[in-house]
Symmetry: none
Subunit: 116 residues, 2 copies
């Protein structure tokens, strides 16, 4: 039971429109330039939107191999992705950190107010 089929060619989350075949991201209709890693990372998170994805799983999904201890690649690319999403859609938090568990991508709920 999945939110969307794995082989779907379009993922939509909040104002984000992810075109898998083209490798294109649209934020509120405007195209956002992402590198391959950044795009794959976004896709991996988007396919599990609403769920926490561990760094282990994230690394395996995006990099295709097992995460070694001390590897910070995930964090760095989450940061890069956040920066581009922030620039495209200011003030909206898409990627949430769960310390000790992983990252979670969610459409922009209005929790930003209650989060202080």
């Amino acid at each position: 039971m999945e939110v969307e089929a794995t082989n779907a060619e379009l993922l939509t989350i909040g104002g984000l429109e992810i075109r898998l075949r083209e490798g294109l991201l649209l934020a509120d209709g405007r195209p956002v330039t992402l590198s391959v890693r950044e795009f794959d990372l976004l896709v991996a998170l988007a396919r599990n939107a609403g769920s926490i994805v561990s760094r282990q799983d994230l690394y395996r999904l995006v990099w295709g191999r097992t995460l070694r201890g001390g590897d910070r690649s995930c964090d760095v690319y989450v940061h890069k992705l956040r920066a581009k999403l922030e620039q495209a859609l200011p003030g909206v938090a898409y990627i949430h950190t769960h310390v000790g568990f992983g990252y979670r991508l969610d459409p922009p709920t209005f929790t930003s107010l209650s989060q202080r």
Copy 2:
């Protein structure tokens, strides 16, 4: 006879939805950010929902070792967990104290509302 199987990956109590594999808690569908200890504590209580869990058992389940005399970790984390549940679902008491025995997690009964 248990409420749910021990190896189930989903626990549901009242408005709480505990996703064991992800380490994610949903309160009325909204995600709640918990630390590792807080989450493990909630799971330990949820697996014994309706029953009183002693600090000894609680400490052994969550911390993985035997509770030393004078250790207040359980109390502190029950407090933290209560605070986050209260913020997520105001006015609903989930964790009940049984002085001299331990803690008990229960879904919100309707008496809790009329008692206040």
